[in-house]
Symmetry: D2
Subunit: 467 residues, 4 copies
């Protein structure tokens, strides 16, 4: 119940302030809007005429920064980061942005994604004498950048070289004394958008952060693109080795991104709503009511309702206070305590045949508990519909997935899943169905965790979570 989800990764944000805006507060509110992408640590670094001051800590954005700190973080450009990580690397040392000194002065980096050849690159760098103080990909990128910078006349030329070496998924924001740089991997696996407010440029993992700030969404940073903002030249774009086919993570639409974000010109909610429609077409079922599992199942539930005509009801109250510091009940109380997070609203369920819609099934344990909640609340039938295809493979691109043997769809048949989660029927959207929900998006898609076909070569098997 507590962690049976693919785990989101990180969020990045950057501002190049050509107006009189309050840089650190822009980053603060931006990160606040991206908080769902990582609740473990957060950081803000600002550039005050070449000197970078920063603050990064374990915890949530609102707990780390207060007015004093934001006043202190005074500068004309700034970047920020929110981070989630697997327990093993929950060290404050790994918090981002990474702030370094290199031959051309100070630099700060924030990274979302995962390099698939990070270990190999680390070993190569170590073999040349490099030392590492964190386990983040940002540090690998910084080490490569710094070495490359010696050979080239500019940081962007160095970045071009580095991008030819690193493999995997990345959305990067880099701040140097005079520039703000944004870059995306050649497949465009992680989202990164550019916005403008008056004369100032803003980058963000998701556009929802722009709405919060009155920033206009200009466009997505392109796969393989490097965008450089500087005082002298304004905006420059460098297109590196773009792939024939891009491969945006389809789970960004299915689950990770905020519904109100627009990624590659497609609103996330729109895609989820369509997925509900497709689900109905692919797996219709007779029932009295539709229940979306809040919050991630609600978009598809609306779509299913619109398509089927079956009424959507509020089946659950989700306790909004479940967070990092909450003490999860120990074994004895665990089964019971599913109610702590999600409690059924009996009047909407009792005596009804229910279609329960969720975004995905990972281990299956949570789904079983939720189905049982519905039955306890009086549901006579529970038909589970899932707005993503069966998750059968690990992700190597910045998403924390369980070992394959723990993915229920990897080890069980559909019928077995239905029985294991105590449902009367179960229906997953098909890969094609899913892809059809992305119509209008200006990109192609990764579906690696469903099919095992990844867009990028996986060099180092073990690295998976957001680094």
């Amino acid at each position: 119940m507590w962690q049976d989800k693919l785990q989101e990764e990180c969020g990045v944000f950057g501002v190049y302030n050509n107006n009189e805006f309050d840089t650190s507060r822009m980053v603060y509110y931006g990160l606040f809007a991206l908080q769902h992408r990582g609740q473990e640590s957060a950081g803000i670094a600002v550039n005050n005429n070449g000197t970078i001051v920063y603050r990064k800590e374990m915890g949530m954005v609102a707990d780390i920064f207060d007015d004093n700190v934001l006043d202190y973080l005074n500068g004309h450009s700034g970047i920020g980061h929110v981070r989630y990580s697997t327990t093993g690397s929950s060290l404050v040392e790994n918090a981002q942005p990474l702030v370094i000194k290199y031959t051309k002065g100070h630099m700060a980096l924030a990274h979302n994604g995962n390099l698939t050849n990070a270990d190999t690159l680390r070993k190569e760098l170590e073999a040349k004498g490099t030392i590492f103080q964190t386990t983040t990909d940002s540090e690998v990128i910084a080490a490569l950048l710094s070495r490359a910078r010696i050979k080239y006349n500019s940081i962007e030329e160095a970045l071009v070289e580095v991008m030819s070496i690193i493999k995997g998924a990345y959305a990067l924001v880099i701040m140097t004394p005079h520039k703000l740089i944004a870059a995306r991997d050649p497949f465009g696996m992680r989202p990164l958008v550019m916005g403008k407010k008056e004369d100032s440029f803003v980058f963000s993992s998701e556009s929802c952060a722009f709405d919060a700030l009155g920033v206009d969404l200009v466009r997505d940073v392109d796969p393989g693109e490097i965008i450089v903002i500087s005082k002298e030249k304004g905006l420059e774009s460098i297109q590196t080795n773009k792939k024939k086919q891009s491969a945006m993570c389809s789970f960004e639409y299915i689950y990770f991104a905020r519904p109100d974000s627009v990624i590659e010109s497609l609103e996330v909610y729109e895609a989820r709503f369509r997925a509900g429609k497709v689900l109905f077409e692919e797996h219709p079922v007779e029932a009295d009511v539709i229940v979306g599992v809040p919050d991630s199942g609600l978009g598809a539930a609306h779509g299913f309702a619109a398509a089927s005509g079956i009424p959507l009801v509020d089946g659950f109250m989700k306790n909004r206070y479940v967070g990092r510091t909450f003490i999860a009940p120990s074994q004895g109380l665990r089964e019971l305590a599913v109610h702590l997070k999600l409690n059924p609203i009996r009047s909407q369920i009792n005596g009804k045949r229910v279609i329960m819609i969720d975004d995905s099934i990972v281990r299956g344990t949570t789904s079983r508990r939720i189905v049982n909640l519905l039955r306890e609340a009086g549901a006579t039938e529970v038909h589970v519909r899932v707005s993503s295809p069966p998750v059968k493979y690990s992700c190597y691109f910045g998403i924390d997935t369980p070992e394959r043997e723990n993915l229920i769809a990897s080890t069980h048949s559909l019928d077995e899943i239905r029985d294991l989660i105590c449902a009367d029927s179960v229906g997953y959207i098909s890969r094609e169905g899913l892809l059809s929900t992305f119509k209008g998006a200006g990109c192609e898609f990764c579906t690696g965790c469903f099919t095992g076909n990844y867009p990028v070569e996986i060099v180092d098997e073990e690295a998976k979570g957001c680094q």
Copy 2:
């Protein structure tokens, strides 16, 4: 935007553990489920063979208690409290439960509500030499109880006398060395329910806390009832001066209580859903979509949709991380930053005639901002429907209401309100309509803040928030 709501008050919880349950963790999870009733401070006191140990602090339940503290809070009975308060009295000294020593040993009290003659009683007590260390009603009650206890043979007899003296709204849980006592004011204005788990008795402001713990809801504590739990006699009930008509706060159903709670045998969500239906009957309007303002407007929105046949859509993404430590934007950014808390989902709104449903309008500023959000997102018309009657009067029973001159409905006509909040039309549910939604509840209702007719005499004008 940040505080334009009637403010909830407090929540109480108590366990008399006749089994081998973990008392402090039961209280912890109970309070966690009641967190919405107060986020300012929380406390747990347990009774370990007559010695009361406790912990109370400013902050949220999950931040105050950890495994060490819960292990330390070891006892066979326990009570807890969550508190909201107006800024003026945000002192840790006011956190509850109040733990005192009196002539019969230690005692702990937790209180939800507001005494309307507290100031008068304080002055009377002070005139007799009593000193006060907090500004809570609990301390007044404790002082009265302790004095009364001298004259009577038991704490419950003393409580009978005290309940004949104090006026106003209260749901009380009291723990003495050998007893756990629950009591409700004669009008039953604040909710208080009793549950059982095996041989153990549990009290809570709301039944949602029982679901979290596998406790069976037995019944509501009756208006004017005192329930005493002890080892020797099990459960005893004393019925004091019950009123002919009870007067449960109607806002508990409209807004405060959790939708999944059952109060006086009526599920809160059910009442909200019905309110949507009534709203449609009273104020129908032609439109393309219905949008509930999350979370409090969603129940009525579902009801309105069911009654009208107009589709309900997800109009807003609500940022779940807005909390106490969040830095609200200063004046310059404020208008903009409404998006930080609530961001429209454009695809659902754009080009549509929208019916926007919320639970109440207090000052009107928030409603204006939300209407404008919808217009910015492309709504062609915005019709506001409100599932409570116009709020025109202050509450004296534990709910924090603004001064009357700040209640928009107190100073403006319906047409003025419509214009002030930039709506195309506005419709409030009628008092009768509202009361019809409570059908099946085992009580009558207070509607004082709509009508100015209060069930109880208001002795001391100034005391309003939860004490």
Copy 3:
């Protein structure tokens, strides 16, 4: 080693500011100078036109207050308190000053000492219905004062009555909306001095706090005296039932008070120095060097050296960082770790016959360890000289003494003590000798813990530590 001392109690401080001084900072620096009287909790309360604002917390003065808090604690009068307590009552609820509301408004009290009939008085008050929220004597005094105030026209008349009821040792500072009041018990057992800075009045447990603030020491508050400062009448003095003989705690000079303080016109250091001289006269011994146990044995060591002509050397380095948060070594390392606090300076000891001077021997364990330190460092003989008589009885006046069976002098002969602490000889100052060191002080002395003859009747046996 870590706690083998009589434990000091509390310190009080008060300012009635008739100038433009910064009240809260005066109290802050005053408490800082009194920190040695209690390191467990501290508090400051100020009177801002009848409203009392305050802050009290567990911890040391410098850790609790910062500039923000001191700015917030703005007022024309203020009182403060530092507190030590035995573990059992280490609750923040017991921190002082106690701030209450009573029939005449707000009042704050700070108390040093111990009432010997507190339990009796509590029970009497409880029997009349009073509730208690702390275990401090301050609360008993406040409850009595508040009741008495009803009968009299002024707080000072009420205090006269209360002082006829309470027994034991107390130095009190009380702040009401218009007055600052200081009072001492009829035997004057705990010190309390009055000072003036321009037109402002200051009270303090010790005069060292005046030096820090440029306050002139005016005189000691007299035993049984009440001094009232108000705007209208300036200073008023009321002399209550003064005893024929006063009984200042002799341990204040021996150990508790700061050497630079002047109590009853006698400088503490002066008394300690004289004690060294007397010790030499009473217990001369041939030796090479004198070593004072830092810091409390140094004054007497200087006196012994001056009288004997034997050179005083620096025998020990005392680690200044040993404090509350330090993790004392567990059993295995304990013997060893005496070096953590006190380490011998070998060059001064090696090969020498040493006279080791300390202020007192309580359990004897520490003395044994220190003697052994000297022997390990090469001392050929160790002669222990103690500047207080054998401690054989408990104190009931605000000093935390071990149970009698743990007082080495209560259960062992001089020869046994010598052997137990591994000394070659041991010599205690005599009671008469001690009293002779107080020549010039304007008072008589308590020597209860040496003789068992207490100046006051001990009503409630169990209460001993500072309340």
Copy 4:
């Protein structure tokens, strides 16, 4: 008053545990004994079979570590560090030990001293692409070590090369998966001693940390020596380019080190005591009493007393609670508030001709205040004697000295100094006199800050404080 001293730098500690000792607690108590060498941050890293776990934070040793943390820091070897730094670099990022991953696994480093060519080395490394995340010398050393390690078969061979490159003062402790290494710069400017407890090896900046742990002092690590401890080979020593003359910092004896430490076979207190004697010989004066300024002037004061026959008295009470969190009084109260830290004991001073002895005069402001304290307390004459020669030059070896223009002896004559500090006479020990106090020490001495003649070339002027 608050900072008018040369500022100590850092302390290092290391354990290679071949017994069943508790590694982390040994480091904890060791650092605790070294706390005087740095109160800004502290850290402990332990080696648990090749995995290094660590904790480092701003603050004092006793505040950072508790039993839980020490239990978690479980390993067979461990190193620790305490750090002081100038405000500019007070970042937690700079706290040590530095923990890195390099080609041979994890490594932790702790450093005391200052490299005089660090900036040059950084620039060279940056020019080769190295990135830096801190401003510590440790990071420079780690980067060099890691690069060198590629060329050599062992870390110690790499260290030999690195030590041929780095210039300046350093006492280093390095922990690798299988080794514990200690090294000192070729001039042996900073102290570093080796001890043994049963089969385990311990290193420490000062021997006082050994006393606390029952560790036997074996010897000093030699200038230019590298000592390697490993399971297989036990202890190995490598002697690198030792200089003809070593140059131990003379201020370690004068002021920094703890009096009970033995450095290069000479007890620090002994040297201080002798300095008092020499001072008397060089600058005799008639007077009634001698007062040492606590604590740093006390050793010399004892020596002066022994030589002159003039009695040494306790002239001052030093408030032991002055620490980092203490709020220093703002300008208005500053002059006054010298009493907060140091208060005269009047009885010892009044009417006396006083010889005041301190270890050094830096800016002169503190000396003036202390002289004035004595005069206010009634001293009729004040003769200042200083146990170090005039400080006229900056230090580049890990000691934080003010700019030269702020060193009173750099800009003023002796007569001017006497007048500026309000003394009747002033006398400094001569350089020769000082050197004579070091008789018996197994090394030669740096006196750079007195003479401007430094043992090492100063490559990078600006780097001075401990890095």
